[in-house]
Point group: C2
Chain length 363, copies 2
């Protein structure tokens, strides 16, 4: 191991609160017991609070990508039409998953850094009336944008019967989201971002309209079969052995969110985003996103600065993990997260380090 | 939470060594860093030691069932023939996964409690010469049997070109297994049994012959796509965010296994199995398995004893988690594990409690 990592400013995993770390260091429970059943039920109930939904919430042991795949496999059948409104790496990933399952989606792509335009979505659905499911991101961590999920869901409803599938892996418990009030059919998330737990768990909130598709869908699914998960809910169980340690940690993180209140979490995250943008401006750095999210700030690097070398030096010299660019943005941007258990002091340290290493890189 | 669980004698999760718990309670690393890359590489190298293989080992974030599904999705194409030699719940699960992917397998079923008969496997392959992959268990935790994996693999080789897929989710790091010396093409395992870590990680060791199928296979796969995992290995990464905390714990557990030596682990487990069988005999209980495994002892309950109520009382009154029967054995057997971080003192406590609760149930 090289020098200790003091501070994580990465968009997943985010740092873990001490309460969560302590819970994960406790002796493990067996998952077919009353104690675990109570813990599992608590986690699902609190997840409904965070999701702002009365719909059933499913718990899966996988990354956010696994949750995205589960939505594709559970909602669609061979020959179905699907639409992806892509704003970056994660929208493109939805399209890649659909293609892996033999479904060539209609893809509406925005310029990276721009939010999804509800008018373009509506036009695309008008041109393609048979679409069964529309996939988009709440926030796309690759570009640091936030989408107007409410307006996108309204656009879908105006143009047919498609269900909306929202990837809120990085947005939930950080940016405002109203699953029921906005009529969102499927909302996916992961444990390691706003939810302040270790990676390994993913969740899906599934509406009654979506369940109809789940029951009719014919794409192959087994581990990710939502029907099996739903059938195990009355027993307070998952069908297969879950990441029990992560469930123990997630329960503690959800207690922290409940204590603060979900709206206060959103407000705090927005305040940190404002603060980060100010610190970035003071360094002369430009925001990458035209429609910036509150979960992280993506910053364009000055010409001639190698982003990958920069973040490597921030980690090795300063002990701070900052993310670089993904896909076509590799080496061109840095991404500073401010969701979950990240505070102003972490941002102070991160921007001070970023300033020093930028000066060194440009010297 | 009800009364504290003092002792786990369940076949996954098994109890966690303090070193593993401490590692999982440490601040989380980011997975796109040099430190994590070194940890990841260490885990894969030590897994090759445990597997007794020089083949690449893949790490997945899922349960053992996810690993089983990954083998199906990566090896086969629509229309392929597959054979399952089933010795219990987990063999039947392989068949169910294959059916979910549209492949109706040839199923050779043994009476529950009996090991897979290599002669029957050979005869089935002779009758069905086009089989591409043969699936069976190393140990089936549902019945407490161990298969003669070496003889089964030889039977497969005598009758064609099929690859062997061995589910060693509960067998690895507990019962002898020689991936390379026995010519096993795919060996699957999970982190939460002999590997003494929390559930959430699964592994696959994949032979060059199996990789040829992986590159040609046409069943849909994305999250479980072994090609993407292989492509990320040179970067010392997983394609998607792994269960980082579990990887940190797994590294510590693998250090313990290396210190003891894998052959010593097998020998210790065999000794504990002998001891458990003796304790069971002293209670007048009959082994369920005709071909008993070393990982756990499955015991038939006397007529009139409700197994589910018995294990519930052992947990609530004695603080000890023992497993009941699965599938058609529900309520009829109990299963006492002695793999991983379970010692003689744990078995003493478990059998004492089992004896008391059995007497109470029969009083």
């Amino acid at each position: 191991m090289s020098k200790k990592t003091a501070i994580l400013l990465t968009p997943g995993p985010t740092p873990l609160p001490p309460e969560v770390l302590r819970a994960m260091g406790r002796p493990i429970l067996h998952h077919r017991t009353k104690d675990f059943g109570e813990l599992f039920e608590f986690v699902l109930r609190e997840m409904r609070y965070v999701y702002r939904t009365a719909n059933p919430v499913l718990l899966m042991t996988c990354s956010g990508t696994g949750a995205m795949e589960s939505a594709v496999a559970n909602l669609l059948s061979p020959g179905d039409r699907a639409l992806v409104h892509s704003t970056g790496v994660f929208g493109d990933r939805f399209a890649a998953i659909l293609r892996a399952y033999g479904i060539e989606p209609v893809v509406v792509s925005e310029e990276w850094g721009h939010a999804a335009d509800p008018g373009r979505l509506e036009a695309a659905l008008e041109a393609e009336p048979g679409v069964k499911a529309v996939f988009f991101q709440h926030t796309d961590t690759s570009t640091g944008v936030v989408n107007d999920v409410k307006a996108l869901a309204e656009a879908v409803r105006r143009r047919g019967q498609a269900v909306t599938v929202v990837d809120s892996v990085s947005g939930l418990a950080a940016e405002p989201l109203e699953t029921d009030a906005w009529g969102l059919d499927v909302v996916l998330t992961g444990s390691q971002k706003g939810l302040m737990c270790a990676p390994g768990l993913a969740f899906a909130a599934v509406s009654p309209r979506a369940w109809k598709l789940v029951d009719a869908a014919r794409l192959p699914r087994f581990y990710f079969d939502w029907r099996t998960m739903r059938a195990a809910l009355p027993r307070k169980e998952t069908p297969y052995t879950p990441a029990i340690t992560a469930v123990m940690g997630q329960a503690e993180a959800l207690k922290l969110i409940r204590r603060e209140g979900i709206e206060a979490v959103w407000k705090r995250t927005a305040g940190l985003a404002d603060y980060a943008r100010g610190r970035a401006r003071a360094l002369g750095l430009e925001l990458f996103a035209r429609d910036p999210a509150n979960i992280l700030t993506a910053l364009r690097l000055p010409a001639g600065v190698d982003g990958d070398a920069l973040i490597a030096s921030i980690l090795s010299e300063e002990g701070i993990s900052i993310a670089g660019g993904q896909g076509r943005l590799k080496g061109k941007i840095v991404r500073v997260a401010h969701m979950g258990y990240i505070g102003r002091a972490d941002l102070d340290a991160g921007f001070a380090a970023l300033g020093r290493r930028l000066s060194a890189a440009q010297a």
